[in-house]
Symmetry: C2
C-alpha cells in the first residue's frame, strides 16, 4: 500500500498467473502450454523478421495477419481483431461492450481473470452457478443483463457446451454482447466462429498460445461483426496503438497458415488426453470429460492439495485452486505421452502411499 496509489489501484486484486519456474527442472503441466514446439514455419518467419526493419513501427492495423485469419475462416478482415494475447483482447472488450450500469454474467467456476477485468473497469457482475458436474445451463442466461462471457470449453473445468446450446444464449440476448472465450476450442470443440455472420452480438476470442504452441509470442484473435471490431479498435487506440510487434505479426501469420502442423499437433494432444484420462481412471481418479488441452482431476479420497504438493515434490507441476467448489480438483495440462506416463506413474505412487489405491 502506498499513498501514491489511486483508490482503484489500491482496491485491485490482480490475477495470479501459474508458476513459471526459472530453473525448468519440472515437468510443467500447470499453465496449459502445448508440449509440442510451434510450427517450424513460424520460427523461420520470426527469424526472417528479425532484421533491420525492427527500427520501424509495426503496422498498427495488423492488416496482413487479419487478412490471413479471415481467409482461414471465410470472413473479411473487418471481422477480425488481433491483440497481445487473448487476455489483452478481453481487457479491451470489457470496457468496449460492458458498462457500470448493468451487471454482466459469467459462470461461477471459470477463468479467474473475468472478475479481475470487471473490478478494474468498475463493471458489476453476477456469477451463474454451474451444475454439480460444472455444466453451463443456457436457461440461466436468459435474464436481463449487461453482457455475457461464456468460456467454451470452460477453464479450469474443461467442460464444453455444444454450440446449439450456445446459440440459444445468443438468440436470447440480442441487445447485449456475448463474448465466447474459445482459448481451448481447438482440442475437440466446434467453434462459434461459424455464427459470426448470423449474430451481430457475438464476439469470439481465441489465442495462439495453446493450439499453436505460441504462448511465448503473445497473440490472440477475435471474430465479430465489424461494429464490434471497431469498438475494440476504439479502446485499443485509447490505450496503445501498436500492441503486436513485428516478430509476433510474422510468426502468427506463418502459424495460422500452417494448417497441417496445427492438425497434427492438436490431434496428438487430444490422443494423449484420452489415454491419460483412461490411465488415471484405472487408478481411481475421476476427471471431467475434457474438450481442452488439460484435465480437471479429482480423487474421492485423496485431497487435491496433498496431491499437488506430492506431485511437486516429484518434479511435476500442476495447478491447484484453493477456492470453493473446485478445491478438490487439480488442473493438469496435457504434456507429451512420456510426460503423462510419468504423471500417471506419480499418481499411482501417491495413491499407493496413501494406501487407498482402488484395485
Amino acid at each position: 500500500m502506498s499513498k501514491y496509489w489511486s483508490k482503484l489501484a489500491a482496491s485491485l486484486t490482480p490475477y495470479v498467473p501459474g508458476e513459471q519456474p526459472k530453473d525448468q527442472r519440472y515437468i510443467k503441466l500447470n499453465t496449459n502450454e502445448n508440449p509440442y514446439p510451434p510450427s517450424p514455419k513460424a520460427i523461420e518467419a520470426i527469424r526472417k523478421a528479425a532484421n533491420d526493419e525492427l527500427r520501424l513501427y509495426p503496422d498498427p492495423t495488423c492488416d496482413d495477419l487479419r487478412t490471413a485469419i479471415a481467409k482461414r475462416h471465410g470472413l473479411t478482415k473487418e471481422q477480425i481483431f488481433v491483440g497481445n494475447g487473448s487476455d489483452e483482447i478481453l481487457a479491451f472488450a470489457f470496457p468496449a461492450f460492458f458498462s457500470p450500469e448493468r451487471p454482466i454474467l459469467f459462470p461461477d467456476v471459470t477463468y479467474t481473470f473475468y472478475p479481475v477485468y470487471a473490478k478494474f473497469y468498475g463493471i458489476p457482475y453476477e456469477t451463474v452457478q454451474t451444475d454439480n458436474e460444472f455444466l453451463i445451463n443456457p436457461d440461466d442466461y436468459m435474464n436481463p443483463n449487461g453482457g455475457i462471457v461464456i468460456p467454451n470449453p470452460n477453464a479450469p473445468t474443461a467442460r464444453y457446451l455444444i454450440v446449439d446450446e450456445l446459440e440459444r444464449i445468443l438468440r436470447a440476448n440480442e441487445d447485449t454482447v456475448v463474448i465466447v472465450d474459445e482459448a481451448y476450442i481447438d482440442f475437440g470443440g466446434r467453434s462459434a466462429v461459424s455464427f459470426i455472420n448470423d449474430y451481430p452480438n457475438l464476439l469470439v476470442v481465441q489465442t495462439l498460445s495453446k493450439s499453436r504452441s505460441l504462448a511465448g509470442l503473445r497473440v490472440g484473435m477475435a471474430f465479430g461483426h465489424p461494429d464490434l471490431i471497431e469498438g475494440l479498435n476504439r479502446v485499443k487506440d485509447s490505450f496503445n496503438s501498436y500492441t503486436l510487434d513485428r516478430l509476433a505479426l510474422a510468426g502468427a501469420m506463418a502459424a495460422i497458415e500452417d494448417e497441417a502442423y496445427f492438425e497434427e499437433t492438436t490431434r496428438k494432444v487430444m490422443a494423449t488426453r484420452e489415454r491419460t484420462a483412461k490411465a488415471i481412471a484405472e487408478l481411481g481418479f475421476v476427471s471431467i470429460p475434457s474438450s481442452a488441452n488439460f484435465l480437471f482431476v479429482t480423487h474421492p479420497e485423496i485431497s487435491a492439495e496433498l496431491l499437488f504438493g506430492r506431485l511437486k515434490s516429484k518434479g511435476i507441476l500442476v495447478r491447484y485452486f484453493n477456492k470453493p467448489r473446485i478445491d478438490r480438483y487439480l488442473r493438469v495440462s496435457i504434456g507429451t505421452d512420456e510426460e503423462m506416463d510419468q504423471f500417471a506413474k506419480a499418481l499411482a505412487d501417491i495413491a499407493e502411499e496413501a494406501g487407498r489405491i482402488d484395485q
Copy 2:
C-alpha cells in the same frame, strides 16, 4: 456508432498514429523512428530466442530484462518496470496513480495520447500553457493537482527542460505522482533517472523505440520507487500478465547491454540534427532548439500545411498537426545525412517555387 458499444467506447476520441505507408516508397520522417538499424546484438539475440521454447509463456515478471536495466543505472530491479512500449506503461500509470477526483496537469502542447488516456479512465485534466517558444515554466505546476505529466524533451516541440527546473516540480508536488516521459531523452538531454532514489513521487518513462532503434519490438521501461513499480504491476496484472513476448525480452536485453552501439547511433542522429537545423535555417526556416530526434520546423511565410503536402508529393513524409498553436509547424524526424540532404533540398525547391526564398 453501434448499439453494442458502451457509453465509454462511444465517447472515446482515439489516438491517431502517424501514417505507416505500406509501400515504403517514402523517405519516412513522420514517426520519429531511428534511421539506423537496431544493434546487431539485439537482432542476433532475437534469432536465438526464436526457438521451440516459444511454446512456453514468457517470464511475467521480466526479471532478467529488469535486472539488466537496473544494472545500467545503478538501481535495483524493484525500481524497474517494463511494458509493451512506453505507451502501454503510460496506459497503466494513469489508472495506477491518477484518480477521477482531482485533475492532473500537463502542457497544452504535448503528446496527444495524454488526453486520450485521461478520457479513457475518466481522469479530469487541465492543460498548462507553454510560453511563446513552447517552454514549460515550473512555476505553473505549483497548484494543487492530482498528478503531473511532463514530457522531457517535449513532443512535438522538441523542447528540453533542464533537470534542475524539473526538480522544482518534483519538490513542490510531494503528494502526487509526477510522470516524466523521456521518450526522447537520449538525444542530448539529462535524464531524471538520477533523481529516482531522492523522490518517491517520480516515475520516469522511457522507450527502446527511438534511441535503440526498436520501434518494431515494442518495449518501454519505467523507473521509480518500488511502491510506484508495485502500483504499475497491480494494474498490469489486472489487465494482461504477459505483455512482453520472449523475443522482445531477449532483443531488449541485448540492446540495453550494447552501450557502444547506442552511443554511436545516438551521436550520429544528434550530429545530423544540428547539421539539418543549420541547413534549413539558411533557407529561412526556423526550428525550435531540439534535444530530440526530430525538429519542429516553421517558415514565417509558407504555410505548414502546404509544406506538408508538397513534401509528400516529393516522396517525403513528415508530420503535420492541424491544431491550435502548432498548425504553422511540421515535426520532422531525423533520418540519415542523405535523407536530410534530400529533405533540405526539397524545402529549398518548395521555398523557391513559393518565390519567397530568403537570400
